[in-house]
């Protein structure tokens, strides 16, 4: 009995870190650009497929390929910014919301056509590790570790590099940043690129644990919204913490109730927080 609880806590933490990573991209784009990125889930799914094809055709381990996915994601995200968002970035939020929704429809539509919706899985066997009587798959442990690494990388980037500081400055006052010599268009494009890249990275990692289809990003997108509300906007560590909370809740309650109740529970939490503390549970502002 005790080991069941321990197992639930451990896999809750590992899964929670992955959820946190998935939410960070959404959080960043929302915080910096005031854009609610409804293509978030579609990019997560693209990350899954990128990792899958790299493993299948290039025989690249997903835990190495994930760095390639990150780089591809930055480029793909920046291109998406200039194609779909640049012209309307100063328009009311509804315009950018619809624009990112269209991007999502395009990706999912093409993805369904090309890949169909048959489930796929990455063929990876790394064995398992036994911790205090519980057995954890190695892929889950690696996924948790990589999630922390990418979160710390983002933290370092935002707080220690000129480009990162420029993105933070733009999020606080776009005009002032421009007057300081920041090319704010490029800063916004880069912020969107990194947000998309982190979403794809989370997808690439998730694909090592669960089977997936082009539609699988949707679930993570919804979880990401809950996590953003839990962790508040603007802080990568807040998102990671929000992810941990969600991962733990999911894994602990499923010891007692059926898994199919999990989405219900998640959204009950979302609604509850929005009523009690609309700025987010851990938000500073």
């Amino acid at each position: 009995m005790l080991s069941a609880w321990l197992g639930a806590v451990l896999s809750g933490i590992l899964l929670g870190l992955l959820y946190g990573l998935a939410a960070i991209g959404l959080n960043l784009i929302w915080g910096v650009m005031n854009v609610i990125n409804l293509s978030h889930g579609a990019f997560i799914a693209l990350g899954m497929f990128s990792s899958y094809f790299m493993a299948k055709y290039l025989h690249l381990s997903p835990f190495i390929g994930v760095f390639l996915v990150l780089a591809m994601g930055v480029i793909l995200g920046m291109v998406t910014y200039f194609v779909s968002l640049h012209k309307i970035i100063s328009a009311p939020e509804l315009s950018t919301l619809l624009a990112t929704y269209s991007v999502s429809l395009v990706i999912i539509g093409l993805g369904t056509f090309i890949f169909t919706t048959n489930p796929r899985a990455i063929d990876i066997a790394l064995g398992s590790v036994s911790v205090g009587g519980t057995v954890l798959p190695t892929t889950r442990i690696l996924t948790g570790i990589f999630s922390v690494i990418f979160t710390l990388w983002l933290y370092y980037f935002l707080y220690k590099t000129w480009s990162g500081k420029a993105i933070r400055a733009v999020s606080m006052n776009r005009d002032a940043a421009e007057l300081m010599g920041v090319n704010t268009t490029m800063a916004l494009a880069l912020a969107f690129g990194i947000g998309v890249a982190l979403a794809m990275t989370a997808g690439a990692l998730a694909a090592t644990i669960f089977p997936f289809t082009i539609l699988s990003g949707g679930g993570y997108e919804l979880k990401s919204f809950v996590i953003c509300v839990l962790g508040g906007l603007g802080s990568p560590l807040g998102a990671l913490l929000g992810g941990l909370i969600l991962g733990l809740i999911e894994n602990l309650v499923t010891l007692k109730i059926a898994t199919s109740y999990v989405p219900f529970l998640e959204f009950a939490i979302l609604v509850f927080i929005l009523i009690v503390k609309p700025t987010g549970l851990l938000a500073r502002r």
């Binding site: 500081k165 400055a169 421009e178 300081m180």
Partner: protein
């Protein structure tokens, strides 16, 4: 005569369909303090927005050290050394004082001199030195204005533009801001000042322009304008 640092010729612009500026001419000579006066709605802020590039110019020309910058983006102008301390300070509230100062030195030009400029800015405003790790948004209005000026100096400006630096400050702090401007003037910094406080700015300025309804209606040296009956009537309550 030296080439003017900043020159505005026959500038026209506005918002949407509404024209605000109707052919402005002005010059900022090197090492001088030039002032723009005018009532609310005269077009002072609009003129600065056009000079810094935030607002596109409809007609006319802006030159900086002889280079036509009329159609350059604001960040490009900043990288040339055209630096504005915006109205309402516009500091980055969630960043520390230190990070705000670093952001001031964002351009390639300014990064080279980051260390010396930081020392210089902090010697002008020793109070900021004690607060380098504090979040800028938690400081008082006066301290934020000092930070905004210090951040402007970090940019290694070839012309420093002040937009209403004394707005919303207590009288004692207004004096402090003008003392700083005087100090910078003595050190030979080229400045363009937009101010509501006519008395203090005319006392300091080398040359001033009076704007009304989007046109330059009067210009002259500080003393000339201070003596002028019209300026007295309009601003000095005489």
């Amino acid at each position: 005569m030296d080439q003017p640092t900043l020159k505005v010729e026959n500038l026209e612009t506005g918002y949407g369909e509404v024209q605000i500026l109707w052919g402005i001419d002005l010059e900022v000579p090197p090492g001088n303090l030039t002032t723009i006066l005018g009532a609310n709605g005269a077009g002072k802020t609009t003129l600065l927005r056009a000079i810094t590039g935030i607002l596109p110019v409809w007609k006319g020309k802006v030159t900086f050290h002889g280079e036509d910058i009329t159609h350059l983006s604001p960040h490009h102008r900043a990288s040339l050394g055209l630096v504005m301390i915006p109205e309402g300070r516009m500091i980055f509230p969630e960043m520390t004082v230190l990070e705000n100062l670093e952001m001031g030195a964002f351009t390639k030009r300014a990064r080279a001199g980051l260390k010396e400029n930081m020392e210089y800015a902090l010697s002008l405003f020793p109070r900021l030195k004690e607060r380098l790790e504090q979040k800028a948004g938690t400081m008082s209005g006066g301290e934020q204005q000092m930070l905004a000026i210090a951040r402007g100096l970090m940019a290694d400006p070839r012309v420093l533009i002040f937009d209403e630096p004394s707005l919303g400050l207590a009288p004692k702090l207004v004096i402090e801001v003008f003392e700083t401007i005087q100090k910078l003037k003595e050190e030979g910094v080229t400045m363009l000042l937009v101010e509501q406080n006519v008395h203090l700015s005319l006392a300091l300025t080398d040359y001033a322009y009076v704007l009304a309804e989007g046109k330059v209606v009067m210009e002259g040296t500080g003393e000339e304008l201070e003596e002028s009956e019209e300026v007295k009537k309009a601003y000095l309550g005489a």
